[in-house]
Amino acid sequence: MSSFLKNYANLIELLRISGKIEGRKKLQKMVYILKNLGADFKEDFYFHYYGPYSDVLTIELEELKSINVIKEDVKEHDNYFPTYTYELNIDDIGVKGDLENYKEVIYRLNSENSRFLELVATIMYFKEEKKYEKEDIIRKIKIVKSDKNYTDEEIKRAFDFLETIAKD
C-alpha cells in the first residue's frame, strides 16, 4: 500500500460504510466522535466556533476530491452557503481502513443531523479532553453555544446518546 494513500485509509472506509454523508460539518463531527471512541484517525482537532474542528480533515477532503477518490455534490441554497455531500467515487484504490468495530456507531451517527452531532462532539470535547464535570459542561455549552439555543432536552439527549455509543 502506498504510504501516501494510507493517510486517508479510515476516511475512505468511513465513506464506504456510510454510503453518503450530507454536510461537511457533519462529517467533521463524525470523525471527531469516532476518533474519541478509539478509531484510528490521525487528524488533529481543536476547539472551534462550531465545536471540535480539524483543518487537516477539510483539506484532506479537498485532496481526495481533487484526485477523484471521492465525489462531492454541492447544493446551493438561498442563504448563500452551499451544503456538500460526500460519497466514494472509486471503490478500490488499494487502501484498506479498519472501522469494522465501529459500523453500528457510524450508522447511528449518520442518521443524526449536524446540529445534534455538533452538540454531542462539544460535550465529548469538554468531557474527555477538558475533564469537566457534567454541570460545568452544561454551563460551558450555554456560553460557547449561546447562539445555538440548545434546549435542556437536546442536551440531555446528547448526554444519553454519548453513553449509548460508548457502549456500542
Binding site: E62, I67, F81, P82, D147
Partner: protein, 431 residues
C-alpha cells in the same frame, strides 16, 4: 510605570504602559521565544527570514490593543478585566511553541496550544505574574486560547479568518522574507472593525483593505509557507529528529545531549520545566554533534542539513497520484540499488501533501463550518464573497500541489537525481 518603548520594524514604536505586560515579557518563558524562529526552516529559501516568535507576540498584542481601542471608540463597552485578558492572551498566544514549531510537534506528538495552556496554568513565572495581577486571570487567558471565553469577540480578534495574529505575521513575515506581496493596510482594517452579535464584522469602507489582506494571505501561502524548498528542508529536519528518536529508543544514540532526553523519553508528557528549556538552538547544536555520530544515517542526514544538501523536489501531477504506490516502490528499489539499506530508505524520500501545511488561505465552506469574514453595509451583514468578486473567485480556488522529495546523492556522493526522475516519469506514465 514609566512607559517602555520597543522599536518594532513593522509597527515602529510599540509603547508598553502596563506593568504586568512588561513583567510578562521579562519572564523566562517569554524570553525563550527569542530563540524560536517564526518561520522555522524558511531561512533556507529566504535568508532574511530569521525573525522570532518574540517580536511576533509583541506585535500581535499591539494590534489587539489597537483593535480594542477602535471598538471602544465606536461605543463598545470593554471593561478593564476583559481588556487585560485580551492583551495577555494576544501576548502569550504562541508561548507554547516548541523548537522549529510544527516539525517538533510532529515528531514528539505534541500540540503547541496545549503547551500554551500548560505554561499559562502551570508552575511558571508567567502564571505567577498573572496570579499576582488577578487570581482568575490565568484561567481567563487560557479560556481565550481554548476558545471558551465568554466574550466571543475577543476570541474572534485573536483567532479567526481575520485576526490580529495573522495580520501581524503576514506583515512581519513579508518584511523579513523580503517580499512585498504580503503587505496590506492594517490600520484601515482595524478602523473598520465593529461588533456584530458576538463576532467581528468589517464596515464596508474597509472592504478593499480586507481584499488586500486576503490576497496577501494567498500569495504568502504559495510563495513562502508552501515553498517547495522550505518544505523539503523541513522534511530533512523531521527525518533527523525521527532517526535520533529511533536511535535513542534502541539505546544507540551517541552524542546525546541531556536537555533532549525528556523529549525522547516522555514526548508530550515531559515536565513543563524541561519543555521550556527547549529552543531552536538546542536542536541545531544537537545536529552539529550528530554530524559525527557513529550512526551512518544520522551522520549523513545531519551533514546534508548543515551543507544545505537538500532533497530534490518533484511536482507530481494530480492525475498521477493513483500511481504513487508504484512510484514509491520503484524509488525504493532504486535507492537500495544505489547502496541505501532497505530499512533506511524511508529517510531518503517522502511525499508532501497540502494537508501537512499548517498555514492556509481564505476559504468559505458551508454554513457552520468555519466563520466567514463578515462585511456590514447599510444595516446588512453578509459574507465578503457577496461583496467582492475577486475574493469570491479566490475563495473558490482549490489548487493543490503534491511534491515528491528524494535524495540527490547516495552515501558516497554520487548524483542519482536523473536516474530517479527517469523512473518517476515512467511511473507517472503508468509503467
Amino acid at each position: 510605570m514609566k512607559p517602555k518603548y520597543f522599536r518594532d520594524p513593522v509597527h515602529n514604536f510599540i509603547v508598553i504602559t502596563k506593568d504586568y505586560i512588561l513583567k510578562l515579557i521579562d519572564t523566562e518563558e517569554f524570553q525563550r521565544l527569542r530563540q524560536i524562529k517564526q518561520l522555522g526552516t524558511s531561512e533556507i529559501t529566504y535568508y532574511g527570514a530569521n525573525h522570532n516568535r518574540f517580536s511576533h507576540s509583541i506585535g500581535t498584542m499591539y494590534l489587539m490593543e489597537k483593535a480594542l481601542s477602535q471598538l471602544k471608540s465606536i461605543g463598545v463597552s470593554i471593561d478593564e478585566e476583559t481588556e487585560m485578558t485580551a492583551l495577555t492572551a494576544a501576548l502569550l498566544h504562541d508561548i507554547g511553541h516548541g523548537p522549529f514549531s510544527h516539525i517538533f510537534e510532529k515528531v514528539i506528538g505534541s500540540d503547541h496550544e496545549k503547551w500554551t495552556i500548560n505554561i499559562i496554568l502551570g508552575d511558571t513565572e508567567i502564571n505567577q505574574v498573572l496570579q499576582n495581577k488577578d487570581r482568575d486571570l490565568p484561567q481567563k487567558v487560557a479560556s481565550v486560547i481554548s476558545k471558551e471565553y465568554e466574550h466571543k469577540y475577543i476570541v474572534y480578534l485573536l483567532s479567526s479568518q481575520l485576526d490580529v495574529d495573522r495580520m501581524d505575521y503576514l506583515l512581519r513575515d513579508s518584511y523579513y522574507v523580503g517580499v512585498k506581496y504580503g503587505l496590506f493596510d492594517p490600520d484601515m482594517i482595524l478602523k473598520s472593525m465593529q461588533i456584530h452579535g458576538e463576532s467581528i464584522a468589517i464596515d464596508y469602507k474597509g472592504l478593499y483593505a480586507v481584499e488586500q489582506y486576503i490576497h496577501a494571505r494567498y500569495y504568502m501561502y504559495w510563495q513562502v509557507y508552501y515553498h517547495k524548498t522550505t518544505r523539503g528542508y523541513e522534511l530533512l529536519l523531521e527525518n533527523i529528529l525521527k532517526r535520533a528518536k529511533y536511535l535513542y529508543e534502541q539505546n544507540r544514540l551517541d552524542k546525546g545531549i541531556d536537555i533532549l532526553i525528556p523529549v525522547f523519553r516522555k514526548g508530550n508528557e515531559m515536565d513543563i520545566k524541561d519543555y521550556i528549556k527547549l529552543n531552536d538552538s538546542i536542536i541545531l547544536y544537537a545536529i552539529s554533534l550528530w554530524r559525527d555520530s557513529e550512526d551512518k544515517v544520522l551522520r549523513d542526514l545531519c551533514n546534508r542539513y548543515l551543507r544545505r544538501d537538500l532533497y530534490k523536489a518533484y511536482e507530481l501531477k494530480e492525475d498521477n497520484i493513483h500511481h504513487i504506490g508504484k512510484i514509491e516502490n520503484k524509488i525504493k528499489e532504486k535507492l537500495i540499488q544505489y547502496g541505501f539499506e532497505e530499512e533506511n530508505v524511508k529517510y531518503y524520500f517522502g511525499i508532501d501533501r497540502p494537508s501537512n501545511v499548517t498555514y492556509d488561505y481564505y476559504v468559505e465552506g458551508e454554513e457552520g463550518e468555519k466563520p466567514v469574514i463578515l462585511i456590514h453595509k447599510e444595516g446588512k451583514y453578509n459574507s465578503i464573497t457577496r461583496f467582492s468578486d475577486s475574493i469570491k473567485s479566490l475563495a473558490g480556488i482549490k489548487k493543490y500541489r503534491y511534491y515528491l522529495y528524494f535524495t540527490r546523492t547516495n552515501y558516497e556522493g554520487e548524483d542519482i537525481t536523473d536516474e530517479l526522475i527517469k523512473i518517476i516519469k515512467e511511473g507517472e506514465g503508468g509503467k
